[in-house]
């Protein structure tokens, strides 16, 4: 099946609008993606036909809602090739997933041990570990980044050592687009027996992941970045690792029995799913996964790679244009500055021309500091973007730069 981006765009009515009199060019996909009709319709369909609270209801709507939710759990399992559906936990987002694990490790990580992240992490993969280190007295370490925006891993053996308790890093950087050498890092982490977590915020929409092949302990995805609804994250965890952790939140669904004196907890996944789940979001995410898999992530990634290469080629001649993060291994993200202009000004003037990009620190302040920039402008591509949009982006950028210089 040929990749027909114009047919695909018909599934995203939001793209068909004008902003300040110009056709919308949406290039803020790394922040959040737009949703296909299949997802919007799945949400409506849920509320129009079978909305109910799940799990403990014997009535038909409750069973339909439960079946819907649980079949998405199975769908996610298959998507990332987890061993069993019980290893798939529904969370509020990646931030929630990582906090769940970092909290759970509070009495497992000890003073004298260390937690290893990288300099290019999103704040949600930094702050929870800083908090963990504060609670436990463990040390926070990180892999630095070179001028290409790649991890410097020569020193891997001094950074990850016998005292490393946790290694957590992103697969693909939202600020730079760099695809990190996951398996190499995991192998090293596993060799010292560390707990491992991979932040898949940016892998979800762009790359296939096989968690068993990786052998990673925890892997997390964000629905809203993968064409699904807001308010939902996925936390994969190996059964034995999840079972070794205490529950995070207390409440309904996650307990076996409760008396005023004591509660005993349910097994996974329920132990980590306190409260009424985001049922609608789960159903919508199922539709998003189906949509993505019908197109094929490899096809999507190839399309995006083409756009990225084209954008680099088109924009490079602009005077002062400087890419932040130009690794050979990149996905979908064009982070840049134009010398003599401020990213914020670029963002405002591009918006005036209908082009939506993100500007600022992208919740990755340390890597901005490392590159000595206050922020970047970031165009990020999704399955529905086109070369014509790259042309519009480039023309708008040129115009903005001319106004600002």
């Amino acid at each position: 099946m040929a990749y027909n981006v114009h047919d695909i765009r018909a599934q995203f009515p939001i793209l068909n609008q004008t902003i300040h009199g110009h056709p919308l060019v949406y290039l803020d996909n790394a922040a959040t993606s737009q949703k296909p009709l299949a997802v919007i319709n799945a949400i409506s369909d849920y509320y129009l036909n079978y909305n109910a609270n799940v799990h403990r209801g014997v009535h038909t709507l409750s069973q339909r809602a439960t079946d819907g939710m649980e079949s998405v759990r199975e769908q996610v399992r298959a998507h990332i090739n987890a061993k069993e559906a019980a290893e798939i936990i529904f969370t509020r987002g990646i931030t929630d997933s990582i906090n769940t694990i970092a909290f759970g490790l509070s009495s497992i990580v000890k003073k004298g041990q260390n937690v290893v992240i990288t300099e290019m992490e999103h704040h949600s993969n930094i702050v929870p570990w800083q908090m963990l280190c504060e609670r436990t007295g463990a040390e926070l370490r990180y892999f630095p980044v070179n001028a290409q925006g790649e991890l410097v891993i020569n020193d891997v053996d001094t950074i990850i050592d016998e005292d490393t308790a946790v290694v957590s890093f992103n697969h693909i950087s939202n600020a730079l687009g760099t695809i990190n050498p996951v398996q190499l890092l995991l192998k090293k982490a596993q060799s010292v027996g560390a707990w491992t977590l991979v932040d898949g915020a940016q892998s979800g929409p762009h790359a296939m992941v096989d968690v068993q092949d990786w052998g990673v302990d925890f892997f997390t995805l964000s629905s809203h970045k993968m064409y699904g609804p807001t308010g939902l994250g996925i936390l994969y965890g190996k059964r034995e690792r999840l079972e070794a952790l205490p529950p995070y939140q207390g409440g309904g669904e996650m307990i076996e029995t409760v008396t005023m004196e004591k509660s005993s907890y349910a097994g996974i996944p329920h132990k980590f799913e306190a409260g009424t789940p985001h049922i609608e979001g789960i159903i919508g995410f199922g539709a998003a996964l189906t949509f993505v898999n019908e197109l094929g992530i490899e096809n999507i990634a190839a399309h995006e790679a083409e756009l990225l290469a084209y954008a680099v080629e088109q924009c490079s001649p602009i005077e002062g244009f400087r890419i932040i993060g130009d690794s050979m291994h990149k996905a979908s993200v064009l982070s840049f500055v134009v010398d003599g202009t401020h990213p914020y000004d670029l963002g405002v003037l591009l918006d005036q021309q209908g082009v939506a990009i993100r500007t600022g620190q992208h919740c990755t302040q340390p890597i901005m500091d490392a590159f000595c920039v206050t922020g970047t402008a970031r165009a990020s591509f999704a399955l529905y973007n086109t070369k014509e949009e790259v042309d519009l982006f480039k023309a708008a950028l040129e115009k903005a730069v001319n106004m600002l210089k």
Binding site: H55, G57, V58, R64, T66, D67, E70
Partner: protein
């Protein structure tokens, strides 16, 4: 046709014969009422099948190559369902029980009425039965 399959077919035919679902439930309730139950002492905590909204106790014994089930429940429909399952699977070769095909539930139309969710425990009961059978089958 194995004995298990024969028994399943009887159930399918019985259910097919009854038109109204309320009557089918009446049938299930009758099966529950006529089931040999457990004594109070037999109802041990660790026989409870997890994931049922009502309490269901399931006991398994080895009899030669066969597995024999006994059960009880505090709700009558749950009792009827487990009675039905015992009718099919009890005193049958453990090996066959462990690997028995479950399409009869669908053929009975039960799956639509008792979806395999946490609340009703149908799947939990079957899983537990198969688990015992697997252990006994070695």
């Amino acid at each position: 046709m194995s004995s298990i399959q024969e028994k399943q077919q009887v159930l399918i035919d019985d259910f097919d014969f009854i038109e109204e679902w309320m009557d089918k439930y009446n049938h299930i309730i009758e099966m529950g009422k006529s089931m040999t139950t457990l004594s109070e002492e037999e109802k041990e905590e660790d026989l409870l099948v997890k994931g049922c909204q009502s309490k269901v106790w399931l006991k398994a014994e080895k009899k030669g190559d066969n597995v024999v089930f006994k059960a009880d429940a505090d709700a009558i429909i749950a009792k009827g369902i487990v009675a039905m399952l015992i009718d099919v699977f009890s005193d049958q070769p453990a090996k066959e029980v462990a690997h028995a095909d479950l399409s009869f539930l669908e053929k009975m139309g039960l799956k639509d009425h008792l979806s395999p969710t946490r609340a009703n425990g149908l799947m939990s009961m079957i899983t537990q039965m198969k688990y015992y059978a697997l252990v006994f089958a070695g």
